[in-house]
Amino acid sequence: MPHFSSNLKFGALLAALMLAPWLGLGSYPLHLIIMALLLGFIYTSWALMGRLGLVSLGHGAFLGIGAYSVVLLWNQYGVPPLAGALLALAVTVVLALVIGYPCFRFKIVGHYFALVTLALAEVVRLVIVATRDLTGGSLGLTPKPGLSDGATASLWSFQFSNRVVWFYIVLGCWLFSLWVWRKVDQSMLRDALQAISEDEDAAASIGINVTQTKLKITVLSAAMTCLGGVLYAQYQAYVNPDTVSGIGISLQMVFGVIAGGMFVMLGPTFGAVFLLGLQEVLRVLIGNQIHGLDLLIYGALLVFFIIRMPKGILGSWLERKT
């Protein structure tokens, strides 16, 4: 349970983080921090359900819907991304319900749940590729520039040329995901989900509505992931079917969380930091000549983590301390 000293530590960490843009870090390190927080937000959203035995390999679908909806609506109809995001959220919620309801109703769990959601991630990726006249297919898509001459920020087009603005937007979302995590932990929902993940029939017998409980956390997690997709598209100003949807990104989310540790609040974020850090260290040490070396080491580490440290780096470290 969180006690006073851990709250104090977290507060100090947060204060340091808030000041990050003013420490003269330079543009690239700031970009890395923004990416770490953004991935941290997405991973935390996934882990909200993943840690309770609902391992989805389909969150790439929600990320892709978020990213592509805002860019397409903006480019085709000039819909401002903030309004586009609402529509993307609505689509995501409907899709999560349409897939989630039968899954939970018919007790599709474990392997089967993972594989059904994986099929969903692929469907979204393939639809994006197949509608290439609209989406640009595998080449990806860039949102039309929405900044008028001389302006550095536009809320209407949700484009900001200054990284510091992005930093605070992403930081806010990341803090929001941690707040949601804690709220879930303090609620009855958490206890109900814990009971379900241990024994569904027993949970149902004491009056827990299994289907409804699982749907709640799934919709929450999917909607937040969709929001992550919106931010990703607007920040990078580029979307590509392989980086925001499909199996690749879905697995990457799961593994990032596992590397960090999915049972502690900061574990998913730690996984994102670890992943980006690994990429950067390898880039500095050996440069970009050898394609795939970072993924090679990453894959080997994942196998190692799952076999030796199923609770992740941060999870194992915290456990050892106590």
């Binding site: 391992v55 007790k107 099929a119 593994f255």
Partner: protein
């Protein structure tokens, strides 16, 4: 609109040929699941390794193709056994979902390994077989051979499982994991044997695919998802169900791809899969007892 369309017939026939290949791939994966109760997400990556092994031994070592194909099969069989020994064995008693995810780590690893060694360019072994013309329908020779070999291999696997002692032991252990050690069967040996067999089947699939497709590090991703969806739709571990599901899937992809565009064929297949999971979650051939 004509009632009889020659190109539609061609799509159906090509779907049939693709079905044979999918049936072979899903057989290996299903066998491993049925016996060891683990889904190898990286199964198609083993096949990719086999394709590179054949490519490398043929172009760099200059060995005759037949020898290279044999090398591919044996190599992947050894890789399958190694995969069980070093990756699966340590997590046999862990959460099922961890077993699934650890093979996902292997997926990244093998894909990246191929990229580091061979780069991301498309490679091929430089063998192109002619097409066979039957009336107005053109059928690729490589696909016909692949279909024939896949059918023979499936029949051979079936006979092995039903007519030999080792095969009987494999079937027995998939029916009751806890009783068989009492009957004097060493499960560890059976697991290794099954993994090597699953590997050999992936190696055989690699032999058939190098004749039709260019090799690149991500080729596993174009066959992997389809392969385990076929297995799940047939009922994980149900060999006959997987066989039937492979042909249904292949027809959806081939005919759907012909009527719309190739990606829509896949979309159709995936959506059909999701729908089937809700209608018959235990697999298409499952009967309630």
């Amino acid at each position: 609109m004509e009632f009889f369309d020659i190109f539609l017939l061609e799509a159906v026939l090509n779907g049939l040929l693709l079905g044979g290949l999918l049936a072979l791939l899903s057989l290996g994966l299903n066998l491993i699941f049925g016996v060891i109760d683990v889904v190898w997400i990286s199964y198609a990556e083993l096949m990719m390794v086999g394709m590179y092994a054949i490519y490398w031994s043929h172009t760099s070592l200059g060995l005759p193709l037949a020898l290279c194909l044999l090398f591919g099969i044996l190599g992947v069989a050894a890789l399958g056994a190694a995969m069980h020994w070093f990756i699966i064995r340590p997590v046999l008693s862990a959460e099922p979902i961890n077993q699934l995810l650890v093979t996902g780590g292997v997926l990244f690893f093998l894909q990246a390994l191929a990229t580091v060694i061979f780069g991301i360019d498309f490679k091929n072994i430089g063998v192109r077989l002619p097409s066979l013309m039957v009336g107005d329908i053109s059928l690729s020779m490589a696909r016909l051979i692949a279909f024939g070999v896949a059918m023979v291999a499936i029949a051979a696997t079936y006979l092995f499982l039903n007519r030999t002692f080792a095969g009987t032991a494999i079937r027995a252990i998939s029916q009751d994991r806890s009783i068989m050690p009492l009957m004097g069967v060493n499960p560890e040996r059976i697991y290794l044997l099954t993994s090597a067999m699953g590997g050999a089947l992936a190696g055989l699939a690699a032999c058939l695919l190098v004749l039709q497709y260019d090799i690149h590090p991500a080729i596993g991703l174009s066959f992997g998802p389809i392969t385990f969806l076929v297995c799940v739709m047939g009922g994980l571990g149900n060999l006959l169900g997987g066989f039937v599901a492979a042909f249904i899937f292949a027809q959806l992809i081939s005919v759907g791809g012909y009527v719309y565009a190739i990606e829509w064929g896949y979309v159709l297949a995936f959506v059909f899969f999701i729908a089937m999971m809700f209608i018959r979650p235990e697999g298409i051939l499952f009967r309630r007892r």
